[in-house]
Symmetry: D2
Subunit: 280 residues, 4 copies
C-alpha cells in the first residue's frame, strides 16, 4: 500500500473528503504544515496531496516533498504559477491559450499608460489574492490614479503589483472546470450575486452544472498543461466576440460547490488518479 501525506493547515470539508477516500486506498497521514517543520528532501512518503490554504505554505510544503522526489499534487511549480495571476497569464499566452488582454504595471504611471492602450473601463488586479479581493473595476484615469496610488501602500510586492486588464462584460457569469490527470472532470457555471460583477461564490454567486463543448474542453486541458497541473480548477469567461478566455487557474482547488452542483466527487477521482500514477 502506498504511503500518502495529506498536507493541510486549516481542515475544510474538502480536506475531510480527501482524508476519507485516501484512507481506504493508501496508508494516509495528515501533516499539519502550520505546526510541523518539513525537512527539505527527507521523508518516507510516496506521494503528498497539498492542501494548505496559504499559497506559500502550500508551495513550500510541496517543494519540501519534491526535494525528496516524492510525487506531489500539485507540484510546487503549479502552485506558484497558478497562485500568481501574472505568471499564469504569461504561461497561458506562451501556450497560445487565449486570456483577457493584460499588462503588467509596477507603478501608477505605468498603469495609466496601460489603461490608455486598453480603453476604459479596465480591471485592476493583484497577481496574488483569492476570492475577488484586490480586484477593482475602474472607469476613468482619475479613479485609476487614486487606486494605484493607494495600492503603493500595500506591503507585499505581489499584492502591490498591478495587472491592468480589459474589462469583459460576461453578464456576471463564468465557468469553472476541473481538470484531473489530463482529463476534464466537469464544469460548473457561477452566476454573480445581483449588483455584483465578480462571480466569486464568496461574494454571493450561485452555481449550476455546465456541459463543456469540445472547444471548452480543449481549452482547459491546454491551460492545465501550460501550468503542469495534475488537479486544477480553471475559470473561463465566455465572450461573444472572442469565445472562451481563461481568466484564472487554481492550484489548490476548492471543490465543495463543484461536487454539490455536478454530483462528481473530485476527492474520489483524485485518490484514483493518484494511485494510478504511483503504479507507473
Amino acid at each position: 500500500m502506498p504511503r500518502v501525506a495529506l498536507v493541510v493547515d486549516v481542515v475544510r470539508m474538502e480536506e475531510r473528503m480527501l482524508l476519507d477516500v485516501l484512507r481506504s486506498r493508501a496508508e494516509t497521514e495528515t501533516v499539519d504544515a502550520g505546526s510541523m517543520p518539513l525537512e527539505v528532501g527527507s521523508n518516507s512518503f510516496d506521494a503528498a496531496v497539498i492542501r494548505p490554504i496559504s499559497m506559500y505554505r502550500a508551495a513550500y510544503a510541496a517543494a519540501s516533498f519534491e526535494a525528496a522526489r516524492v510525487f506531489t499534487v500539485n507540484r510546487s511549480e503549479t502552485i506558484m504559477l497558478a497562485g500568481d495571476k501574472m505568471l499564469t497569464y504569461a504561461r497561458l499566452a506562451a501556450a497560445r491559450v487565449p486570456t483577457p488582454r493584460s499588462f503588467y504595471a509596477s507603478s501608477p504611471q505605468a498603469a495609466l499608460k496601460a489603461a490608455e492602450k486598453l480603453g476604459y473601463p479596465v480591471v485592476i488586479k493583484a497577481p496574488l489574492g483569492s476570492w475577488g479581493r484586490l480586484v477593482s473595476r475602474v472607469d476613468n484615469p482619475v479613479e485609476l490614479e487614486q487606486l494605484a496610488r493607494l495600492r503603493q501602500g500595500l506591503p507585499c510586492s505581489q499584492t502591490r503589483s498591478m495587472i491592468v486588464q480589459e474589462y469583459l462584460d460576461t453578464g456576471g457569469s463564468d465557468i469553472r472546470c476541473i481538470v484531473m490527470a489530463g482529463s476534464l472532470l466537469g464544469c460548473i457555471r457561477r452566476i454573480a450575486g445581483s449588483g455584483e460583477w465578480r462571480s466569486n461564490v464568496a461574494l454571493g454567486a450561485r452555481t449550476e452544472a455546465y456541459n463543456a463543448d469540445p472547444a471548452l474542453e480543449d481549452l482547459v486541458l491546454r491551460a492545465a498543461a501550460a501550468v503542469k497541473g495534475f488537479f486544477v480548477s480553471i475559470d473561463v469567461f465566455e465572450t461573444r466576440e472572442r469565445g472562451y478566455l481563461v481568466n484564472e487557474v487554481n492550484g489548490v482547488p476548492e471543490f465543495k460547490g463543484f461536487y454539490r452542483a455536478t454530483g462528481i466527487n473530485p476527492a474520489v477521482r483524485l485518490a484514483e488518479a493518484l494511485i494510478e500514477e504511483l503504479k507507473r
Copy 2:
C-alpha cells in the same frame, strides 16, 4: 541584427556595462519596467536581458516577454526559483546538489521543533531577501522563540516564512561562481568583514579570484541547470566534513565585484552567449 531589450528599474554599473556591450552587437533598447507597462505576450524583441533589482519586477517583466516567446535571460522561472531560497533548496536537493540541511517552518512552534532536530546554533532565513537581511544566527530556544514570534509580524508570506538551517562554520568565507550558458565563467572568494559571520559584500566582505577545482565546477554547473539558469551566480560554502555545499543562487546577478577580482567581464560574455543563442 537581433533586437534586444535591456529591462531595468535602477541603472547600476552592471546595467551600464551591459548596455555598452549589447549596443555593439544588437539593436538594443532600454525598457524601464518601473514606468512602462509591459503587455503580456506582445512585443517585437528577439531577446530580453532582465535586470530589475526588485525580484518581482524582474520576474514579471521576464514573464511578459516569455508570453510572446521572446528569449529571456534569465527566464521568469529561474528568477522565481533562485529568488526564493526555499524553492532553490528544494530544486537543488531534487537534483542531488548538496546544500546545508534545511527545514521549512511556518510558525514559531515548527521552527523550535526543526531546531531541536538540527541542534543549536541554527540559522533562520527568510525565503526572500538579499544582502544578508533577514538572516539570523540563533543559539538557544529562548532566542529562537523570540525571533520567530517577532517574525510573525512581518507583513509578507515570503519574508515571514522561515528556513531553519544547520549553522556551518565556514571561517567567514564563501565562494561565488558565475555560470553562463552551461559553462563556468569563474569564481571569487568573499571573506567576511571582521566580527561578521555573513560574507555579504554589502556587509563589508572583501573579494579575491578563486580557482575552481573539478568538483566545484561540476557542482555549480549542476546547480545552474537545476534552476534552468542561463546566467546565474552561485554561492558555495566549503566545509571540512562535507565538501562544497550550495547556499544560494542569484537569478539577476550583480557582477561588479567579480569583474574587479577576476578581470573577466560577464557583460561581454553575456552579449556573446546571447547572440550565439539567437542564431540557433
Copy 3:
C-alpha cells in the same frame, strides 16, 4: 435617566458584564464601532464607555464622542497615552512616577548605543502591542543587532520603533492594580508560567489578590492621574533596590482575572462612578 453608549468591537465577558450593570442604571445602547460610522461631534449620549479591543478603534471612537463633549471612559487622550508605552513612560517620568530606565531608539544603531549605556541584558519593546508580543529580552550586541535589523521590516512605525529598557529581575511576577475615578479599586499579583519571564496571563501566568501598601497606592494613583485615566489598570514591578516601578498602563482594561481573584466587580464600580460623574 442618563444615556450611555457602550462602544465595542468584539464583545468579551467584560463587555457583557458592563452591559448588564449599565442597563440597570442608565438608558444604555451598544454601539458596534466595527460596522457603524461615528460622526465627529454629533450624538445624543451623555457618556460613552469605550471598549473596542483595537487601540485605534477605541481612541477614534472616544474622540468622536468627545467632539460632541460627551463624557468618555476613558477619554481618547488616556487611550492614546496608555496604548503607547513610549508616551506612557514619558508622562510618568514627567510626573515623577518611577519606571524602568528606558531609551527611545529608532534604528539598530541607536538601540545598540542605548544597550551599551544600560548594560546587558536589556529588554526591547515596541511602543504598541499587547499581551507580551513584541517584547524581547536580549543578552548581547550580536543578538540585539539581529533583532533590531529584523524589526526594521515591521510595517508600522509604532511597532517598528524600539524602547530599550533595563532588564529587571522580578522573579517572574508583577502586580496589577485597578484605579477608578481617583481611587484604588484593588490589586492582583500575576506570577509567570514556569520557564517564562513575562507575567502575561495570555502567556500562562496565574493570579492572586494582593494587598496594596500605602506606597503602592500612592504610586498607582499618581500614575493614573499622569495619563488622566478614569478607569485604568496599572502594571507594577516590585524591585529590591528601587521599590515599586510602573511598567505599563492599560486604557481599556481587561478585568476578568481581577474580578475572579479579588471578588471586586469593576463593572459595577464603573457604572456607579460614571453615574456619579454625570450628576456633577
Copy 4:
C-alpha cells in the same frame, strides 16, 4: 545662554534655517533622532525644537525630552494630535472650531453608511499621511466599496482607518496660516495645479501671500489652542455657505513656501519666541 536641542532626522532647508538662527541666540546642538538613542527623562537641555519628518520619531523625541520637563516645540501631545486627522477634527469640534463634516469608519460597511448620510461625492482620508497621499475623492458606492476593501490591506491601523468627509468645492485653493506662540504669523494661499483638486504643493500647487481677516485670525488662533500648538501651520478652506473651515493642522510645519511668499521668516520668529518663553 540657554541650551537648545534641534532634533532632526533628515535635514531640510527649514532645519538649516533654524540651526542658523538658533545658534546666534542659544547654545544649540543638533540631535539626530535616527541614530542617537534618547533617554526618557534625562538630559541637560532647556528646550528642544522637534523637527523629524517621521511623525512618530518627532513625537517620541519630544516625549523623551518632556519626560525631563524640557520645554519642547511642539510638545508630543500637539504632534500626536495634529499628526492624526481624526484626533485633530475631534479636538477642533470640541473647541467649536468649524471643520468639514466627518465620520470615523473602521470598515467598508461603516464607510458606505457614512457616505450615504453625507451624499456623494465624498472624500476618504486616512488619519495619518502627508502631502495628499491616502486622500481620495469618491463619486459612488461601487467606487467607495472597492477603495475601502483595498484599504483593508494596508498594514497599519492609522492608515487603514477611514475618515469619510463631505466633499467641498473650494475651487482648488486653500489657505495656510502659521501660528506662533499664540499669535498669527501670516497666511498664504495655495492654488492647486491644473487638473488636480488637492492643493498640496507637493502635487504642483503654487502659493501667494494672503491677508487674514479677523474671522480667519480668530479661527486659526483657536485651532492652534485646541491642539496646544506653539508653532503650527493650519490649513483652511474658504467656502461660500459656511465660511472658513479648518481642514488640517501640522505640528512639525514646513515653511519654505511660506517664507518665499510672505518674506516672513518663521525660523527667526521661532527662535525669538522660544528665548522669550525660556525667560519666564
